[in-house]
């Protein structure tokens, strides 16, 4: 794709999403990074998913010191672009509104981010454990940077909860 074509996508998004985003950047030819506040993220992602006809690939999370940064990766295959929507959810208020309430594709990944990082997704219809066992102790989040493997010992597993 030529630079002029990609510049077109950037300009288009800038025009449509002017008020809602913090900033938008295109560091490489096929990647666009949009930074958004946590309150505005569901709007932007749903706009990209429904009206802009992007496909949802996955979501990822990483523990920055101030909070958890969640990135939603969406793709536009006809224009050969991957559009990433970044939000930083601070530790002081670890909540974000759930997109899985309306769109089914987001449900499982939000369950996984919830159990691994502790981010609360408001309004999610089915917040159960996805990959951790049911007997894993509550309140411990394995993918945070301050989690040590010695935090969870064998006695903490509560097998009654797994129902076997």
């Amino acid at each position: 794709m030529s630079k002029r074509e990609n510049g077109k996508v950037m300009k288009d998004l800038k025009k449509k999403l002017k008020k809602k985003i913090i900033d938008i950047a295109q560091p490489r030819e096929k990647r666009i990074y949009i930074r958004v506040e946590p309150e505005k993220t569901p709007e932007v992602v749903e706009y990209l998913f429904s009206k802009y006809k992007c496909k949802f690939c996955t979501a990822s999370g990483i523990d920055m010191r101030e909070g958890i940064e969640i990135i939603y990766h969406l793709a536009r295959e006809d224009k050969n672009m991957v559009i990433n929507v970044k939000t930083l959810v601070p530790y002081s208020k670890l909540e974000i509104e759930s997109i899985g309430r309306r769109i089914k594709a987001f449900r499982w990944i939000e369950r996984e981010i919830n159990e691994m990082f502790g981010v609360i997704f408001k309004g999610h219809p089915d917040m159960r454990r996805l990959i951790l066992p049911d007997s894993f102790p509550k309140g411990k989040y394995p993918l945070r940077k301050d989690f040590k493997n010695s935090d969870v010992t064998d006695e903490d597993y509560d097998y009654e909860r797994s129902g076997i």
Partner: protein
Amino acid sequence: MNILKKSFKKSIWVFHLSTAACNNCDIEVLELLTPRYDVERFGIKLVGSPRHADALLVCGAVNAHAKPRFLEVYRQTPKPCLVVAFGSCGCSSGIFRDSYSIVGPVDKVLKEEDPDAKIVYIPGCPPKPEAMIEGIIKGLEVI
């Protein structure tokens, strides 16, 4: 009774159980039945139900998901029975030793249920089929 005990060594039926394994060891078990390492000449047969089994081939580091289920399968196997912990993950937990959801290698989990369980260890990642055959035959002398 002596002749029955002798016939026990000549015909072992195995049941394959995989707890949180990477499936590499499972493929090696399948290889044992192929013409190159044919184990049917020792009388070993792969069965589909733990009730018919004489030996449990357990591979994989045991997960918290898998622990109650593994103990349940062990209880359902008629004794006398041999437990074969094979692969590095089965003997010690291998490289997953400090992980947050691995509860322990096979013998640590099994000793809670039955301290007198007979366990054979076959290390390797994955173990070669020749090593597996030798391990099972050595285990037969224990029973």
